[in-house]
Amino acid sequence: MKPFGYVRAGSVAHAVQVAAERPGARFLGGGTNLVDLMKLGVESPPLLIDVSRLPLDRIEELPDGGLRIGAMVRNSDLAAAPAVRDRYPVLSQAVLSGASGQLRNTATTGGNLLQRTRCLYFQDVTKPCNKRAPGTGCPAREGAHRDLAVLGHSEHCVATQPSDLAVALAALDATVHLHGPDGERGVPVTTFHRLPGDRPDRDTVIRTGELITAVELPPALPGLHMRYRKARDRSSFAFALVSVAAVLAVRDGAVRHAALAYGGLAHRPWRARAAEAVLHGASATEDTFARAADAELAAARPLRDNGFKVALARGLTVGVLADLAARA
């Protein structure tokens, strides 16, 4: 780890201003991923701007019935907040399925969205990686890739995005609020993370110097049922092999609303628009759910060792939707 400067931001504006002045500076929230990556040599910022004490740690009701979650809200607090548990249980479940109690006490909402891939090559600075060192190649394509992408990957990168939280937010149509040198903007979570294409070094559409300040959830309409389900190698404290966040409303046996997002399949939380198209208005049966999953997963291009993810995603989809439909 190279030496770096440290400054505690006094305000969002101050944080953004300091970031603009120092190329390569990083914001420090909980640090659970950033400090990890700095120890690995993957990140070596010249300056850390500590934003962890900024007053962004509140969850507030929005006038339209939605919620505004401050970027510094700790994962534990987010998952425990009654408004989240009662109205957006899929979000609470997703957060609680990730990491450990200790990490969730430290990790922040904003930081969680910016978690970097767990691809083993990305984490090892002695090996090539297009994401970490553009142009060096992608050993994962032929190497260890059981945990990596089956959807939306490119010849340059097959990494997956590891956040559980982001998957739930994608299914909830949340918006990420950013504050940068050019002002504020909102980006839908579904387009916040990128596909790798030929620029796998860019995980998200965040611009240099932009700080996540909040995530906003639209109102949770009555009649929505939602659930997060995650498959993993051990019973707890493991990243998802595949996860699914599902939101479903059924009336008179027909699907009135459906939102599905996958984790563990792609470089971003994979919002399953093709599946949703099949679901909308169709009868809420296992057959429909299977057709929906197949419609989405038809685009899958598994690598040598991760074809199981397609079957896994299909099974999870059918199971979760059937479970939600039974509650409706």
């Binding site: 780890m1 190279k2 030496p3 120890k39 040599g41 767990r118 083993l120 984490q123 002695t126 090996k127 050993p139 032929e142 190497g143 260890a144 059981r146 498959a231 993993r232 190698d233 051990r234 019973s235 707890s236 404290f237 493991a238 990243f239 092999l241 060792d305 991760n306 074809g307 199981f308 079957a311 896994l312 099974g315 999870l316 059918v318 199971g319």
Partner: protein, 700 residues
Amino acid sequence: MAAAPSPLGEPLVRREGREKVTGAARYAAEHTPPGCAYAWPVPATIARGRITALDTTAALALPGVHAVLTHLDAPRLAAPGDRTLAVLQDDRVPHRGWYVALVVADGLETARAAAEEVHVSYEPEPHDVRLTPDHPGLYEAELANGLYPGTRERGDFEAAFAAAPATVDATYTMPPLHNHPMEPHASTARWTHGHLTVHDSSQGATKVRDDLAALFGLGPDDVTVISEHVGGGFGSKGTPRPQVVLAAMAAQVTGRPVKLALPRRQLPAVVGHRAPTLQRVRLGASREGDLTVLAQEVTTYTCTVRGFVEGAAVPARVMYASPHSRTLHRVAALDVPSPSWMRAPGEAPGMYALECAVDELAVHLDIDPVELRIRNEPDAEPDSGRPFSSRHLVECLRQGADRFGWLPRDRRPALRREGDLLVGTGVAAATYPYVLVGGSAAEARAHPDGTYRIRVNATDIGTGARTVLAQIAAAALGAPEDHIRIEIGSSDLPPGVLAGGSGGTASWGWAVHKAATALVARLREEPGPLPPNGLAATADTYQEAAATSPYARHSFGAHFAEVQVDTVTGEVRVRRLLGMFAAGRILNPRTARSQLIGGMTMGLGMALTEDCELDPVHGDFTACDLASYHVPVCADIHGIEVHWIDEDDPHLNPMGSKGIGEIGIVGTAAALANAFWHATGIRLRDLPLTPDKVLERLSG
């Protein structure tokens, strides 16, 4: 002397427990002498080749850096018996991760940063880390770990197998596995007037002392190695590892105390691991289930630095009566990190394969797998013909089955469905040899205040050695256990064997028993008030350890498991796991139970979660941290039960103990894999049973 009730067999609380729960117990890296510097190693980034240039300028230029040791300037060591200790001695890189430099700085942060600034140029050579069943480099090993013959044959395997009415021919595979004790390997070394003192995370400080003395050209009295508290080892700290040599070198070069704790990610490459195995097992039996023929052929690798052969076919020589048998090991020397001991080396992988094959035979013959095993119980050790000193496998199977509720059991697979879950049960047997790894020496001293002091260089790596040795001493002395003081964990004490091979307690305990018994005799011969220093007696067990026994001496056990398989996710989870053991006299049921549970937990990891491959391109392990290498977590462990048979074996040692550190892991994986079959009807002969493989088979 009034005889106190014997404390042997009492569930005493472990003696160092209070220090451990308060954080007062200090491990090897938790000694910081004044002026202590910090070392950080630099691993090779090629899989094989030569160092052609080293640029340490940038590293040395960092403020606070004291030295960068490389093969060009590191102290010359005498040639070690174990060549993994010949660190920084030449320009060869035998595998990726081999240490090529060591930075010493006055702070951890600086040391790590400087290590990143050491630039090494290499001339790489083609490497090969891929073990295949037909690898051209495979040869039949003469010896397997533990000095067992690599190959044993009796009868006529080929003819008998061809003639057998019922046969099983199956191949089982396991990836490399990592010990990953919670305490990374660490040493704090300092030189004082030519005397080297090291706090080392080791399973046996006497051996570390002897090796350091040899490497640095010192007498044994010039070296002190202290391993007071050790955060687990499971074999990976059984002999010295590179960190202790590096720390001693760095302290010598810088003239300062030096602390070196290996980074977790570097452990897989330098502290040993369980080698992968491909095991073909062939069984032949009569229709009634009498085994007539058994072959277990193991394919594994070793490294190019030293030889190590995972003796996975060895336990088959102990288990079942069969007139015809072949057990052998084929090994290829690859450009891989050095494999070594990991909890029950040989037995753990070997019994996984053998006990799955026995289960397959039981299914083939439609015989209860418990009964099939009992039917093939031998009268004497099949390989040697020697009588067993004690063998209660049948009792373990029967009593374990009763406690588990094995029967009634529908033997047909894939019938027990609960929603998406399939549920099944499985059984496997276990064995582990009674090994006296070597002799130990001990001193027992009686003090005028009525207390006793026992000195022996035992190591407590979590077993409760202090506690059980105090119990042994108290029993031999006829004194209350709380009148015994125990000194262990330093090479300045009378020498002891390593904590390994499940043989520590037998070796140290015997020496303690002997010294205590001698002290009792001496006290009887010299009645009257004790001198201020008390009276002492010493004893050792070198003769006893060297003696051969006319008996085959082994522990046995039976494992029963119930698993659930999620047919949607492929997740396999354990509902119940019961171990029933016959391991001689259990000296402390509290600590013994903990150790047996621990072994079974590690076996669960081996069966279900622990997975690591070698990257053929880069030559290193793919899963080198604890996020990617999945050791079981608390939520994985449900319903583990441990029981044992009170076994009275007069052919072991004065305590009648066999050792319990390893047998807990031995049958676990097979019991789980067999339960998986019972749940699903699928034979998945490739550990671990992770969702990717399970789903592929379920949908295939």
